[in-house]
Symmetry: D3
């Protein structure tokens, strides 16, 4: 239910860092005016947003394992955010339904794309709460971590350096997290063992997958 | 599950009465040709319908408690109807799916906006059947009553005076009536007690609300 | 969703025929007094019922594919019935909940065990209705046909010879027919291809099966 | 969803009043020690409880319309309660799961059996909240009102005379209130019109009823 | 759950055969490039596709019993396919979600419209698997067979003559096959017996139908 | 969804260690004969099992937060297991339904009670897989970790010292993990903030909790 994916090439990371370097960033509360826990900067520059979100959107949609894991039907244009020293994002839950202009979506999965080298900053871990245990998440530049929007999570204080990330929210065809994961797992089984199966067995497995998709998937 | 809301100002009530006074009304079976129980008059005048439905739509959508109670995602343009002496609408169930031109919606909630003073007519109560008990509904001019489209209900015979109302049907993001009510109740708890809670408790309550929205809400 | 299983040995068939030959049979309406469509004879003899139902119960429960297909948690003691010439059982739907003494069960699956040779009688097919198509069922002596209790079905008139069967009703851990079938199919895939899989893939497939069982299965 | 049923004969009412007259009643908080809103008296006398609960249990289970409406699978032994002047039971929600000795049940329906003549006391109405509307319930001696345990309800202050009732909680085979009501309604349709239908139509209606029972009903 | 419908007039059959006679057909794998079991020819001619799919779409949507059985909300434009000698379509399961240009739909029902006379070809039966039983389907020219996309099915080898059909996939408002069938059955009961019912009974039956539609139907 | 609880006193830990020290342990495959990944020792001594499982059962059932988190309706008698050097339990998924003598249960939650001091052994972490992330679990002697039976998990090789634990499986009234967690969270909100709420708000919150229990809870 937490998935790390390498989605960007080194060149794409460099291009995104370049866009960030020369674009305007403002207080992140611009999009969450009532938040008392958000302390970061986010991109506020139309041309830079268009270009960067296009690169990121194509990279995610074009990644086969992202498709298999997320079953995406809608995604907000990813937005770059920057945490400089002492910035953080306190514990919060993501809203269920988001509106951006005319586009509305249910946020099933949240996604952080890491653009800084993990050695380039201290602190700044993404931490998701699971009961009274926690999962601590940090990835290489160019990697994305996709995680359920249903958890309470936070970004810890950056104590040194700068953490540049891009963030987005994804509506999945499969709303329920456990169902989505079971379909992903069946697909992995089919990918790993399908070629060894006789045709009839493989057809039966495919039918199970497709019928679970029918049963659990939102209509278009 | 029955909700009375004050949605119109005195000026808006007066404007709607004025529109009704000079507009054309026809036999209400124009929109339910097979009905044997509908005996009322309804507006049949394009300009008057445009203007009156706009006032009513804005008043409903702009009312915070209507939003909280109904979780509206679609609503037919409200239609004025008039019951003069001896008119009534016999017991009936509202259809599940309605089509008006290109717009289709599932009718989860029905809404009557009262435009006459309750003292200005006798009879004419809206009565909803609950097992072998009944709920009798009548409200002040400017008030709306929102009730589940799932009940069998009727408008009793008007025995004196005139009953002017506007009617509409609402698709809710939350199809199931009990789920919708539980979300409304949790929101009321958060509104009444949220400010007294410590931040962590309030964040946990918000997460429960958002995750129930994800679980129960129709996708966009 | 219709499953034919060879459950009895020739010796068991012979023993059951022997029991039937010397036991008392009465009008089948004894257990469905209001039925206007049931025209058969059924066993009404305590010792014969004890003995025959024990043989049949053990044969069914002991059959691995029956276990895999039906996920049985309760079963009525199978009852022998006899259709002699001109007998039939008109179209009917099986009741959802059955009570026999202290034992109550939900009938998800119905089961006919064939004790006569199919050449020994004419007519007498079991026919299940599927929309405006039909499935016609007839099996060898010793074979059982397990089919959903949810269909409308009938036994056609026996026009020659005698049709001896045993009948029972099964409560499945998996109430829903489509879910039950998907679990059966996944189990067949695991049985056919599990040994070829690497350990991790096989563990993932087992987890999917067990989690679907948790999700869909009735508690004990 | 609120159902009034005549369940006791005049003789049974008289017998229950006689039992109550000579039995011990204590503060009702004996079974809800933490309640701040319960102000009544309840029977606390083993022999009287055995006898009175037996009469009431048999009367309810033996009433066909109670069976059709409630689909009962378990019921607590009904307990007599007495409201004398100034007593009341403030607004509360009934617990979902109740335990009485070894017996545990889910309370889907609550039931008040009225033993006093409605003219024999003032106040004391049972009031159930529905959104911001209310249903007010009061019935003749010998009648029961069955209502969903899911509402917030209260007993208003008795201002004159004495209100003697018996109370119980029922687990229904059909947990969901709307599903239970739809099954009840279909059964009423079958009872009212079944005899006029041709056999095939009636068989199809019965199949729909039984398959909804399978789909929605708890297993035994 | 398998439904045969007469949807085309003799003239429409003739027109479609005429279109097929002069249009281009290509290897059917053009739309299923990875399939190892598809061996047929399908129409590949824009004008012929536009004209033929229009005739078929109108005929299906305009057929009342198709509406009642399928509850269609979307349908791919039907595509003509031709099986000449030795062609077949091996066992396969239909995909859950289909995309054709901008149009996406969930395939709940598959539909074969027969354009050849059944005596004009040998073999070529459509066979659907149900457990270890099978349903064999073949209909007159002008008839359609509508069947669940959830089964494994095949077209047997044509051994003589030519089998011309049109194929399409339908998204139903009611995703689940058993729910869809129960609604169809209730509608049949209402059609057969509604006129004999008193008004109140008929209103109650309509309410059950509409509330099941609300509960089970996908939103628009 | 992972919960650590302090359930045993130091005296109870000492008593359990004493029982383990003098009791017979055998190869753990005795209860999983087909397992290729289980390499540990488990208690095989009737008196020791009776005594130790009683201590553990009472400690768990008597712990309020365990009740609130797990909603237990059945639990296998906890079984002590010992991992000495080089022992491990490879990745596996727990079975959905378990049978021990006459007792059957659905395993929703798995529970490990730690009896060794964490410094007394190296390796031996309990590791649960979440997508391609992991949660690593290790607790103080006397603490329990309760976690969903739905994950793939393993016990890593003990490289030094001895790891003594007790293990059990719990059937929850609330089968679904996300629903169970939301009820736990609402209960925590009520515990933290209930006393500050006015009576009406608190009653409404309790009603939401009880109605979710009705909706989601298995019947008794």
């Amino acid at each position: 239910m937490f998935k790390e994916l390498e989605i960007l090439s080194a060149a794409q990371v460099a291009e995104l860092r370049g866009i960030a370097a020369s674009a305007r960033f403002v207080d992140g509360r611009i999009s969450n005016p009532h938040s008392t826990v958000k302390q970061n900067l986010q991109l506020h520059d139309e041309a830079a947003y268009d270009r960067s979100s296009q690169i990121l959107t194509q990279a995610l949609y074009g990644h086969e394992d992202f498709q298999n894991f997320a079953f995406p039907v809608a995604m907000l244009p990813p937005m770059m955010a920057r945490y400089t020293s002492e910035m953080r994002y306190g514990a919060h839950a993501d809203a269920a339904f988001l509106q951006l202009g005319n586009m509305g979506l249910r946020s099933d999965l949240s996604c952080t794309v890491f653009l800084s080298d993990p050695d380039g900053y201290e602190g700044g871990d993404l931490v998701a709460r699971l009961g009274n245990s926690e999962v601590r998440l940090r990835a290489a530049a160019g990697s994305a971590i996709v995680y359920p929007s249903t958890t309470i999570h936070r970004v810890e204080e950056v104590t040194k350096g700068e953490r540049l990330v891009a963030l987005t929210f994804i509506e999945s065809r499969i709303a329920d997290g456990e169902q989505r994961e079971l379909l992903y797992e069946l697909n992995e089984v089919a990918a790993a063992a399908g070629e060894m199966m006789d045709v009839d067995t493989y057809t039966r497995l495919q039918r199970v997958q497709q019928n679970l998709m029918r049963k659990w998937g939102d209509p278009d």
